[in-house]
């Protein structure tokens, strides 16, 4: 008897679930003729994913499109029901800016369901994980990114691509870290640039202060820096500490490689920033006893963002292998890297950053992933060492954090670029 009651109860609950929510669902089906519909899928609690998804939504709606946005909980592995939703609503495009771990499952599920509309994402998807998932399917996958390896217009980029490929091919361990191939990821190029920016700032500070230089002098030097021949284009920081960027590369995942589609530009009129007020912060002093300079590498080498994090580290390693000494007051200082894994988790951020601070680092590079970067910002600030974000695109990373810089573009820009591209692609 009791069993029956309990069964009955659960049936009633299911029914209320069905009827109670039917009303909410009724309004959301079918794309009306004329307007375009985008289905946006973001991960709960993932700063990067939500930030970019919201920016895309705003821009797509501004064009007059309709956006259905949903979120999924962390560690979800089955996306069929979400994708079915996009089919039900006859979405013209799917925008899913998520980690590559999510993408692997999402794309496999999309293929199972026979999704035909284009699937788009942000910079994280430029990864061999995506190429593997797309191989042998009819999926149409696009992503925006910071750099294109086949771009031959800049000699610096050409040299970098050739050199980096050589370096990977001569070093099986690094090739494994890159996903087993020699494709040059945009984040590797950004990592390379970030390292060189850091070194340029250290040299600049050394010119002024000699061996008395501290990490604060390096932070001050960063504001005035202007590097014209960087791999990913000219680097100058605006008042927020963001590199002034005006173009994004859009690529399509093809068979075993990314095909370059187009450069999407939008003018960026920001002016170079002036040094922030660092008050009487003392910062970290140059290690004159051991004649070395430690640069922290704050990256996820495990967790959901490990694939991208490792590629960023590779770019930094490669840059270090080319240039690892700084002359200060006539003495050579060796530049050493200290890699600290944040595990892609925000709760590890402070510890991982403290480890870098504990090593006496003068500058820190990274991280891949915005959430972990935001979570570490205060630790770097307290220690008085500048941090150069490599590919953390969320606006909050540098805002209000005088010690955080970054070498990539921002989500509001990336989101509107992708919304524009999506609009152009599907309205054809």
């Amino acid at each position: 008897m009791k069993k029956m009651m309990a069964l009955l109860l659960s049936v009633v609950m299911m029914m209320t679930l069905l009827t109670g929510c039917g009303g909410a669902a009724a309004g959301g089906s079918g794309s009306a003729g004329g307007t375009l519909t985008a289905y946006v899928l973001a991960e709960k609690g993932d700063t990067y994913s939500l930030g970019l998804a919201n920016n895309f939504k705003t821009a797509f709606e501004a064009n007059g499109g309709k956006v259905i946005m949903e979120t999924f909980p962390t560690n979800t592995t089955n996306f069929s029901d979400y994708l079915q939703k996009s089919l039900d609503n006859k979405a013209d495009v799917i925008f899913a800016p998520n980690s590559t771990t999510v993408a692997a499952n999402l794309l496999a599920n999309a293929n199972d369901l026979g999704i035909e509309c284009p699937i788009m994402a942000g910079d994280t998807w430029e990864s061999s994980v995506i190429l593997d998932a797309v191989k042998g399917t009819d999926l149409e996958v696009y992503c925006s990114t910071f750099f294109d390896e086949s771009d031959s217009s800049s000699p610096a980029a050409k040299d970098f691509v050739a050199g980096f490929k050589d370096w990977l091919n001569n070093n099986s361990e690094y090739k494994d870290m890159n996903g087993g191939n020699d494709i040059v990821a945009a984040v590797s190029a950004l990592g390379f640039d970030a390292y060189n920016v850091a070194l340029a700032a250290i040299r600049e500070a050394a010119n002024e202060k000699g061996s008395d230089l501290t990490s604060i002098d390096i932070a001050n030097a960063l504001w005035g820096l202007s590097i014209d021949n960087a791999v990913t284009g000219k680097i100058q920081f605006d008042q927020n500490g963001d590199a002034i960027k005006d173009s994004a590369y859009i690529k399509k995942a093809g068979d075993g490689a990314f095909e370059f589609m187009k450069v999407q530009t939008s003018p960026n009129n920001a002016a170079q920033g002036t040094p922030a007020d660092y008050g009487n912060a003392t910062g970290v002093k140059l290690d004159t006893a051991n004649k070395k300079i430690v640069i922290g590498v704050y990256e996820p080498t495990s967790g959901n963002n490990a694939a991208g994090g490792k590629q960023e580290v590779l770019g930094i390693y490669y840059a270090n292998s080319l240039d690892d000494t700084v002359k200060i007051d006539g003495t050579d200082y060796k530049v050493e890297l200290y890699v600290s894994d944040n595990g892609s988790l925000e709760e590890n951020a402070v510890t991982a950053a403290s480890n870098i601070v504990g090593q006496g680092a003068l500058v820190s590079l990274g991280s891949y992933g915005s959430g972990v970067s935001i979570a570490a910002a205060q630790t770097f600030e307290d220690a008085g060492i500048p941090a150069i974000g490599v590919s953390c695109t969320n606006a909050s990373v540098t805002e209000g954090h005088n010690y955080y810089f970054r070498t990539c573009f921002l989500d509001p820009f990336q989101g509107s670029v992708m919304a524009q591209f999506a609009w152009e692609t599907v309205s054809k």
Binding site: L9, S10, M14, L17, A24, P73, D81, L87, D88
Partner: protein
Amino acid sequence: MNITSYLIRGLATGGQFALVAIGYTMVYGILKLINFAHGELFMVSGILMIYIVADLPTLPIGLAICLMAALTVFIGFLIEKFAYSPLRSAPRMSVMISAIGVSYLLQNLVSYITGGLSKQFPDIPVIGESVRFLGIKDKLTVFLSPVIAIVLTVILVQIINHTKFGMAMRAVSKDFETSQLMGIKINRVISITFAIGAFLAATGSVLYFAKNTGINHLSGANPGLKAFIAAVVGGIGSIPGAVVGALIIGVAESLAKAFGLADFSDVISFGLLIIILVVKPTGIFGEKTTEKV
């Protein structure tokens, strides 16, 4: 809206979770232990499959699955021998903590071996084929999972009800000490229970990962937790209960997404868990027990 597609995919997830939930429920029935490491065992069997196929490319896929199932059963057996059997006389809380420790260890071990990267599950013939059924296009595993889960459950229930070993198992779960006095080899019964649970988890992992092909060290956490909720909702200790519970959880989550409640999908299963616990703590099929003084 195409409700059938959500129902079918919900049943599929439910069927896959059911195979994991049986492992939870059987171990609880006998040892009164929530085997927190069971979800990790599910994930480990998926990882094993990847490494077997990668390292022995000439092995036919059928044999690879058998080898994987055998290894999973062996690991399940080892876990019981090393982490649970030394604590047989310890308080229940200690065993539960040991289970948490094992799941921590398995996760970290896999994270170390895979470098924390997500790996692709190999293509499985037949169940990995794409088919169209009732107007829904998906892999065959989606349509087969609930059927396979129910068939395996029926076989299992028959074994438990009609064989000598099954009788021993029922006796042990009714009264641990008396059955020991009656000459039942307790340790053997427990080992076999763990082996059955591990085997079903391995089967479930093939069905599940054939569809959701990316696996990393955290892939077991979510299915493990959901299967565990299913076992509790169905009435922990009851095998048919675990299956019914898993199907309910699977369908409820899918329908939630269908009706625009995707943001709440995990809240719904946990909410269901708490409601069941409060209204009928022994679950839908659970038996009422009285506490002895």
